[in-house]
């Protein structure tokens, strides 16, 4: 018998997760035009009606399959560019201008919508259940007021990975050091009901990028919670030499196929006292750029890694198996959700040994760098954007 360990690639689910999914900032859909959103293996059409409500339907007309995203908003309805069939936000065909009557069966797939914290969320469930309003992400006090900067919003395409890859990061303590050049000192996970949370305290790594967030003096306290399968709110407090910044980061995704997804993130900064709006906006933009680079570091890993259903873990790793057990609840029928998928589970990672080794590695890198600089060989490497990453 061989002791060699093999990767079990497993087979990904055919369905897409049940739950609330965020399509983007509500204001970006509110221009009276139809918008196309790639999602759940197809395309959705999003438009605003005359009451200001946002509507989401399957993107293809049930008549001859015309592309509604290339149609026109007429009154409250979206009109198909092919034969002008008019579809309402309730999924019913309201009129066919050239026909005596509308067929009774003219109903298409509609997605219930909610605008929360300035973002458009839709309910997706292959069982076609009513939207569960009790499990919406919470409203964030101060968002949308002068207290915070406006959301920034970025979209990254991940063309060759199942979206469970991004979920796995919730429990991945060590990758913050190796991928994101952060130094986690405290790391804990809590899963309960439809939420999965990561608590992390981290500092910068002085051997990576010399200034700002790469600095040991940069201390991040992060609480990041997934509300359902795809929408994470990350509360971050950043302290740098006594200067405290409070940040809200949204990290969410929409699956586009069984092996691809669109990652979206947006960030709002609580305007610090005595800081003018322009400076606060600047901090927000700079942070967005830094997190954007962090997400890109993750994307690079996902696009090149192998899927693994049987990860081999060491003592310093987080609870991947329990996290996946939690995630499973969104991929089975509601009636098949078992207590162990939703029961509360807590896991505190022991960071002491890892921190000991990492401190030594950082010191060694700094010494090497100093020796190179002294020899005049330093080429000013690491002059890029200082790294920062939490939650993912």
């Amino acid at each position: 018998m061989s002791d060699t360990r093999f990767l079990d690639a497993g087979t990904p689910p055919e369905r897409f997760a049940r739950g609330w999914h965020c399509l983007g900032l509500a204001k970006d859909f509110s221009d009276g035009k139809p918008h196309a959103v790639e999602a759940f293996g197809g395309k959705l059409v999003v438009w605003q009606d005359t009451q200001g409500g946002l509507n989401v339907l399957d993107g293809y007309c049930r008549h001859m399959g015309g592309d509604l995203t290339q149609g026109t908003v007429k009154g409250d309805e979206i009109a198909c560019p092919f034969h002008d069939w008019r579809w309402g936000g309730d999924g019913k065909c309201k009129a066919i201008p050239y026909a005596r009557r509308v067929p009774l069966r003219a109903r298409t797939q509609k997605y219930p919508t909610v605008v929360r914290n300035g973002q458009l969320l839709i309910w997706h469930d292959v069982e076609n259940s009513a939207p569960d309003m009790d499990i919406l992400p919470p409203e964030l006090p101060g968002i949308g007021t002068d207290e915070y900067t406006d959301w920034t919003w970025e979209v990254l395409d991940v063309p060759g990975a199942h979206c469970r890859e991004i979920i796995d990061n919730v429990v991945d303590m060590a990758h913050f050091f190796y991928i994101h050049f952060a130094f986690p000192t405290h790391f804990k996970n809590v899963f309960e009901g439809q939420t999965a949370t990561q608590y992390m305290n981290s500092t910068g790594r002085p051997d990576k990028a010399g200034e700002g967030y790469g600095d040991e003096n940069s201390i991040l306290k992060s609480v990041a919670t997934y509300y359902g399968p795809s929408y994470m709110i990350n509360w971050i407090t950043s302290e740098y030499k006594g200067f405290i910044t409070e940040i809200l980061l949204i990290n969410c995704h929409v699956p586009t196929s069984q092996n691809s997804f669109k990652l979206q993130f947006g960030l709002a900064v609580k305007k610090p006292e005595g800081v003018d709006d322009a400076t606060a906006e600047y901090i927000g933009k700079k942070m967005t750029k830094m997190f954007g680079e962090g997400f890109m570091q993750d994307v690079h890993i996902w696009l090149n890694k192998a899927p693994v259903q049987n990860p081999l873990l060491c003592e310093e790793d987080g609870p991947v198996y329990q996290l996946r057990r939690w995630y499973e609840q969104f991929y089975v029928d509601k009636a098949d959700v078992t207590p162990e998928m939703t029961d509360r589970f807590e896991f505190e990672v022991d960071t002491t040994k890892a921190n000991e080794y990492w401190r030594a590695e950082v010191a060694e890198n700094l010494a090497k760098k100093k020796a190179e600089d002294d020899a005049g060989a330093g080429e000013g490497a690491d002059a890029g954007t200082p790294p920062i990453m939490t939650g993912t």
Partner: protein, 100 residues
Amino acid sequence: MASFVPTDPHTLEDQRLYTRARLVEVSCLDCLATVGVKKNSEHHTSIQWSSDALRHCPEFARMAARPEGRDVHEGCPRMVASIEAAVREGKIPIGAEDGY
């Protein structure tokens, strides 16, 4: 309906080892909650709650009732104290078995 399906039977054994093996029952010293606990090292703690245990915990009920608080809570200090007491009494073996 099948979800993420392992293709190797050993994966099921891995799932069992990592999620269910070596959990020691610990009862709260202050309420009727009983949880499953595993400690791979002094600073590592894994706590498996059940809905029954959660129902018995007055601390979580108190935290949930706080209107201004977040809806996710890091843990119950009384259960943490109870686990520490169980460790002191040698009821919870400390150490990982090949990482699980």
